[in-house]
């Protein structure tokens, strides 16, 4: 018995020791094999100075990466993660680049001309590929190759909107630096139905061939679906780039190293090296920014960031992300008929206080967040605050309701239970939103209280988003009010057309205004950016009169970086370019 016990104790101790060493050897064994496979990042990381001052002296910047890319072919459906695109943006460029105000700036092209029949690109004469040290020009062939890849039915392309308008059989290449595409004049019926072909011009042409144009010569023989799975390189494995930086190595789970690309056409970057360090957890990122282990982060907005807001030595920058939180007001036959009345919609808008909500939700970590007062343009000089006239004024709301209804409170009263009855219908609306979302749970409560104070009752209904609310409730038009977010894929307002067009599947609110439809149609064929912008601004003004949708706020986008870094200009996440859109302008100030 004693012997058994001691034997067991020895075995136990051995197991513990083994487990302990196993975690160490598993680590080092993994490190060894990882070292054999992708030593570069670990090696280059070892040379990176550990203090900001050291890094400034060597012109190295370390950016925190929240999400490990699964590959760098961001146009492929299974590799299109946001951070992959952020890291790719200084490496592979496109025809245009969108700046922090949503303006399109020519990048690989010196100019692009589009009209009702064709689209012509004049590629920059000094745009070059750096392929493992070899200098190759960016040619029209690269654009053709890109188009072919995106239209290939066997390729798992994330989205080929706009490309399907181009007729691949009719392309004119003049020399090496000019290419003309032609829009489809007709489509075979089956392709039209399958959504793989579209007729007519694509007005938002500046979104095409941005942000990626593929190097045709370097990628010969490679499969689109498995391309760039562990590097950004050509068929010989050597790294390739046409941007200010070239991606020299990427180690999964550790990070990415990008060094200056001498063949880039633009001005010489202020940094010699840009490292992306994988730091998946926001709390660690926050500590690292305080402790100086990271130089910049682009964190997903959350309350913990409040620790960094007033941190000395850091710049905390909040901007609008292209994600719009709004309230749909249903005007179809299945909703409360009171919502079809303009004065009711106005009363609801006037009755809610968006500033108070934003303060409650965002003030601790996104202090600059403001209500959204436009629908077509979100930011930049084109965005006019057309909806600002509906900012919170409960007194005005009450006056509107008094004029049409009976039975409500005489002044805005907290905890009021008297609900208006108008034309025999009670002012009680079902309010749909997604479950499990703390912000929306809060906003629902706040609206209940604010609208209740002026005699409007809302009954919240929480539904799972992807499976019920978005998949069934919204398309069925069977709701009164619904709060959710639109994610804009482009700065161009034409991305939202389907929300306001009469009878379109994206028009959940059953809104229909023939004037707006006419304006949308005219903007759909207008290639003059000035007149087009004016048309969309007119549409925005009309929407601010008709109120099919109540815009609430845009999600904040937060960029935090060391004060000593110059040139950082905040961009917007959902445009998929990310914070490094102008990495060539970054530098350490001395």
């Amino acid at each position: 018995m004693h012997r058994r016990f001691w034997a067991l104790a020895l075995v136990g101790a051995a197991v513990v020791a083994l487990a302990a060493s196993a975690t160490a050897t598993a680590r080092s064994a993994a490190q060894r094999t990882a070292a054999l496979k992708a030593a570069p990042f670990a090696e280059s990381w070892a040379k990176v100075p550990r203090t900001p001052a050291g890094r400034a002296a060597k012109s190295v910047l370390v950016f925190g990466d929240e999400q490990d890319p699964s590959g760098f072919n961001t146009l492929q459906a299974t590799q299109s993660s946001a951070w992959a695109q952020y890291e790719l943006s200084p490496v592979i460029r496109g025809a245009f680049i969108t700046d922090d105000q949503g303006n399109y700036i020519p990048d690989l092209v010196s100019s692009a001309v589009a009209n009702k029949t064709s689209l012509t690109y004049n590629i920059r004469p000094n745009a070059f590929w750096n392929w493992g040290g070899k200098k190759l020009p960016v040619t029209a062939q690269d654009f053709k190759y890109t188009l072919d890849q995106l239209l290939n039915p066997n390729n798992q392309v994330t989205s080929n909107t706009g490309y399907i308008n181009i007729d691949p059989s009719k392309t004119k290449i003049t020399g090496t630096k000019k290419i003309t595409f032609f829009w489809n004049t007709s489509c075979p019926a089956d392709k039209l139905a399958a959504g793989t072909c579209a007729v007519g011009p694509f007005v938002s042409y500046r979104d095409l061939f941005s942000p990626v144009v593929y190097p045709s010569a370097a990628l010969q023989g490679l499969d689109f679906n498995t391309l760039w799975g562990n590097c950004v390189c050509g068929s010989d494995g050597k790294p390739i780039s046409d941007g200010p930086f070239i991606l020299t190595n990427w180690t999964k789970g550790s990070g990415t190293t990008e060094v200056v690309n001498p063949f880039w056409y633009g001005k010489k970057p202020g940094l010699k090296e840009l490292d992306w360090k994988f730091t998946p957890d926001t709390n660690t990122e926050i500590q690292a920014m305080r402790g100086g282990e990271l130089d910049a982060i682009y964190p997903s907005p959350q309350t913990a960031l409040s620790q960094l807001v007033n941190q000395p030595g850091l710049v905390y920058n909040t901007n609008r992300a292209f994600i719009m939180e709004h309230i749909d007001v249903q005007q179809g036959p299945d909703s409360n008929p009171l919502l079809h009345q303009l004065w009711m919609r106005q009363a609801i808008f006037l009755g809610i206080n968006r500033v108070a909500l934003i303060k409650a939700l965002f003030s601790s970590y996104a202090p600059g967040t403001k209500p959204l007062n436009s629908l077509e343009y979100i930011l930049g000089p084109a965005a006019k605050p057309d909806f600002a006239k509906w900012s919170s004024a409960p007194g005005k709301a009450l006056a509107l309701l008094k004029a049409h209804c009976t039975g409500g409170p005489s002044k805005p009263t907290r905890g009021n239970t008297a609900i208006w009855t108008c034309n025999g219908t009670k002012a009680e609306f079902k309010y749909y939103t997604t479950t499990g979302n703390a912000r929306r749970a809060t906003s629902t409560l706040i609206w209940q209280q604010q609208l209740g104070a002026i005699g409007i009752q809302i009954d919240p209904v929480f539904q799972p988003g992807p499976t019920v609310l978005f998949a069934q409730t919204l398309p069925s038009h069977k709701y009164d009010l619904a709060e959710y977010a639109y994610v804009f894929g482009t700065a161009d307002p034409s991305g939202n057309d389907s929300v306001y067009k009469c009878g379109s599947p994206g028009d959940f609110t059953s809104y229909c205004n023939k004037t707006v439809d006419k304006l949308l149609a005219s903007a759909g064929t207008d290639f003059n950016p000035t007149t087009r912008q004016a048309t969309y601004q007119k549409i925005d003004q009309q929407l601010a009169v008709d109120l099919p949708i109540i815009p609430l706020y845009t999600y904040p986008s937060i960029l935090v970086y060391k004060k000593a870094i110059q040139g950082m200009q905040h961009s917007n996440a959902s445009l998929s370019i990310g914070p490094a859109w102008n990495a060539e302008d970054w530098s350490w100030s001395s």
């Binding site: 959350q302 309350t303 913990a304 108070a356 303060k359 409650a360 905890g415 479950t435 499990g436 703390a438 749970a441 809060t442 629902t444 409560l445 706040i446 209940q448 209280q449 919240p460 929480f462 799972p464």
Partner: protein, 341 residues
């Protein structure tokens, strides 16, 4: 003479009622030998009368009740539970504010006597004490539901497995094994994430679906050992159906462990649901749950009261339930040799 057990200490099995005995009508002998001071039952009346004492016949349940009431910790626990659960049940009247009454001018206030916010306010100004009271109510509903349903299910499965034995027993026990080899929290999280939809009753069902295994095993054990007993044979011989035998004769003997297990299950269910809600997969807002209230504390680490009070409530509930469970176990345990005071 009354046929309920007249032993002071060693009550074990339920004696059958006279209708099911043989014609002699004698009381079945008690199972365990007692101290020897107490004479054999059929001489008991004589002996007590001779000593000038009155024979007080108590049922085993009254002995259990007495032992329970003498258990100090259990009484403390019971008192605590009455207070806490009482507040939960009468939340409408007890809570000073509605749990959703927000006040954007008063956010993130510490515990204060101003405005009677005894436990402070949360990030949109809701009174924390009220939210915790309503959270207690939710936890109570979940805990009791899970305990009752899992006890019934476990009882049924254990009874069937233990009574019929053989293939049915084998199958049911393999099923129980299956449930036991799965990583509990992981499966609960998966089920709650995919099926729960944040709804309180769905989550309760999911929890109950896991909790029945413990009681099933215990009940099965009791049924297995008791189905060979003579009185069961006798009952069968006199034509009693299976269900009647299971319910009338064997089941009452399992009630002790079932009650104890059910009581503990309430506490475990409350803690598990809190863990699920804390991780974001259990009961979702706006229904207040102690777990999601604690989770709110994680995003505001400098407002310590947001984390401290809901967790403290869970600890108090669990402690009280454990004390009561301890007391019940001691009271209902036939092996116990002394009354814990």
């Amino acid at each position: 003479m009354s046929c309920t057990g007249s032993s002071i200490r060693a009550f074990g099995m339920t004696e059958p009622t006279p209708a099911h005995l043989g014609p002699s009508g004698t009381v079945a002998p008690v199972e365990q030998a007692v101290d020897g001071i107490i004479p054999a039952p059929d001489r008991l009346e004589e002996a007590t009368a001779a000593a000038g004492l009155e024979l007080q016949v108590r049922s085993q349940w009254s002995y259990a009740r007495r032992r329970f009431l003498r258990h100090r910790l259990a009484m403390v626990g019971l008192f605590g539970l009455v207070v806490i659960f009482g507040a939960g049940i009468f939340a409408n009247f007890v809570a000073p504010y509605s749990p959703n009454a927000l006040d954007l001018t008063n956010i993130l206030h510490g515990p204060t006597s101003i405005g009677h916010h005894w436990l402070g306010t949360d990030e949109i100004g809701r009174d924390y004490l009220s939210r915790i009271i309503w959270g207690v109510r939710t936890s109570l509903e979940v805990g009791v539901f899970v305990a009752v349903v899992s006890s019934i299910v476990g009882l049924a499965i254990g009874a069937v497995a233990g009574y019929y034995g053989g293939l049915i027993d084998n199958l049911l026990m393999r099923l129980t094994d299956l449930v036991l080899t799965l990583p509990a929290l992981a499966i609960l999280l998966t089920a709650a994430a995919l099926l729960g939809q944040g709804n309180q009753w769905r989550v309760s069902f999911i929890l109950a679906g896991f909790f029945w295994t413990g009681i099933a095993r215990i009940v099965r054990g009791v049924f297995l050992s008791l189905r060979e007993k003579e009185y069961v044979e006798a009952a069968k011989a006199s034509g009693a159906g299976d269900i009647r035998i299971m319910f009338r004769h064997i089941l009452p003997n399992t009630l002790g462990p079932v009650i104890v297990n059910g009581t503990i299950a309430v506490a475990v269910a409350i803690i598990t649901e809190a863990a699920l809600s804390f991780l974001g997969f259990g009961i979702k807002p706006p229904t207040p749950s102690l777990g999601s209230l604690t989770a709110g504390g994680q995003t505001n680490p400098q407002q310590w009261w947001l984390t401290l009070f809901p967790g403290l409530t869970i600890v108090l509930i669990t402690l009280c339930v454990n004390f009561v469970g301890d007391g019940l176990r001691d009271a209902l345990d036939p092996q116990q040799r002394r009354v814990r005071a």
